[in-house]
């Protein structure tokens, strides 16, 4: 109950809870509680995702724990959740470019691809929104990098694979 409340209710500016916070409330065997909760959440189509700090891959105390959807959404779910297909497509393009370049790319390069699909003002608006939501970060010198939310929510390898496969599917259909 405590673990579920901590993980589901947002208590900081960002969602998710740090391992040490869980340890403080649940005791030193908090990972057992998390595992038990995870198996219950999986029955509901949810799961607990652990994101480690860079360079501290096995430090659960410093890691952040989130509850995420375990199954992918459908297009109708997406529309029902209030997302615009245009916006998701822009996010897909941006994250694919960043993932394929090791997580970093100049803003100019991303905008160049986005502008093949959207007018400049729209592309910039979508990028700003993605920055605000934490999907991407803007560094100095107009360089974009992967944001904290992408690290939690998006399987970057799966995204690149999906981009390639989607294209191939289209080619096969046209043949």
């Amino acid at each position: 109950m405590i673990a579920a409340t901590m993980l589901l209710f947002k208590s900081h500016r960002r969602p998710g809870v740090r391992g040490w916070e869980l340890k403080h409330r649940l005791g030193k065997n908090y990972m057992r509680v998390i595992d038990a909760l995870n198996s219950r959440l999986k029955q509901l189509g949810l799961e607990i995702k652990t994101v480690f700090e860079e360079g501290e891959e096995n430090n659960f105390d410093r890691a952040r724990f989130y509850v995420v959807l375990s199954h992918p959404l459908t297009m109708s779910d997406l529309v029902a959740a209030g997302w615009r297909i245009d916006e998701v497509a822009a996010l897909s393009i941006t994250l694919s470019i960043l993932s394929s370049r090791g997580g970093k790319a100049p803003l100019r390069d991303v905008l160049e691809v986005l502008e093949t699909k959207f007018p400049k003002w729209k592309a910039e608006t979508y990028l700003e929104r993605a920055i605000r939501r934490g999907y991407i970060e803007r560094l100095e010198d107009d360089v974009l990098t992967i944001g904290w939310r992408t690290k939690v929510e998006v399987e970057q390898k799966a995204l690149l694979k999906a981009v390639l496969e989607a294209h191939e599917e289209k080619e096969i259909r046209s043949d």
């Binding site: 297009m75 897909s92 394929s100 690149l160 999906a162």
Partner: protein, 253 residues
């Protein structure tokens, strides 16, 4: 001298190049590390001065950082199944928006989180609000009041003010009448005493306005613990006003 400057510029150019690749996330394999190191060796051998050693060390550090970046780049590439960035860009350009959104959905697992007010949060909010310092002038609240609501509020305030003024006037007349009848200063506690505590409190409250405005003088005798009231028909201007605190105790009904 000119030669020294040229080599220094060359080293600074190498540093800048390494920095740019690191900052902008460019492909670190576009630079020939071996060539850079050979160039650096030549420069060190030709200029064995302390000034040069410092900038040489900085250049060497930047080149080492670039090698580390190459290592990271390779690892990232391996993780991303060696998918070429150029190929991805080309494919993204060719895909339509719906297919792009579908591809994203396959890899997307959004966070589930709720924002809800809890008793603890409410308590924190109240504590925060109470700890805020008062603002000079009027406080601007977040909600909007319509013109009609504003008129109603004004009318209500005017009515309340009018009723209050009438009560103060009546109390002033009562005080003057009692003063004329008695011919001496009136006892504060006897005058404010009402049928119950509510009334006593109200009389004391209204009387405080008359005292502040200069319609009533207060004489206090600390030895006898007496507070006397001397009313005036007209407002009297005071030369050196002071404040007096009188506390009332009782239960409000």
């Amino acid at each position: 001298m000119k030669k020294v400057e040229v080599t220094r510029e060359e080293l600074e150019r190498i540093i800048k190049l390494c920095e740019n690749i690191e900052k902008r996330g460019l492909d670190p394999f576009t630079v020939n590390i071996r060539e850079l190191l050979e160039k650096l060796r030549r420069i060190i051998e030709k200029n064995p001065s302390l000034d040069h050693y410092v900038i040489d060390a900085e250049t060497l550090y930047r080149i080492s950082a670039l090698i580390a970046l190459q290592h990271k780049w390779l690892r990232e590439k391996a993780k991303a199944l060696f998918i070429d960035a150029q190929m991805i860009s080309t494919r993204l350009t060719a895909m339509d928006k719906k297919t792009l959104a579908k591809a994203f959905l396959k890899a997307w697992h959004p966070i589930i989180s709720l924002e809800q007010m809890t008793p603890q949060r409410l308590r924190q909010g109240l504590e925060h609000f109470l700890s805020l310092p008062p603002r000079s002038g009027s406080r601007e609240f977040g909600w909007k009041i319509t013109d009609k609501e504003m008129e109603l509020i004004k009318a209500r305030l005017e009515l309340e003010e009018k009723a209050m003024m009438e009560k103060i006037k009546a109390l002033h007349l009562e005080l003057l009448k009692k003063f004329e009848e008695k011919g001496e200063a009136l006892n504060y506690w006897e005058f404010i005493k009402g049928e119950n505590f509510d009334e006593t409190f109200e009389r004391a409250y209204l009387l405080s306005f008359l005292i502040t405005e200069g319609y009533v003088d207060v004489k206090r005798n600390p030895l006898k613990n007496e507070v006397k009231l001397i009313p005036h028909k007209e407002q009297v201007k005071r030369k050196s006003p002071t404040s007096l605190v009188i506390s009332l105790r009782g239960e409000v009904h």
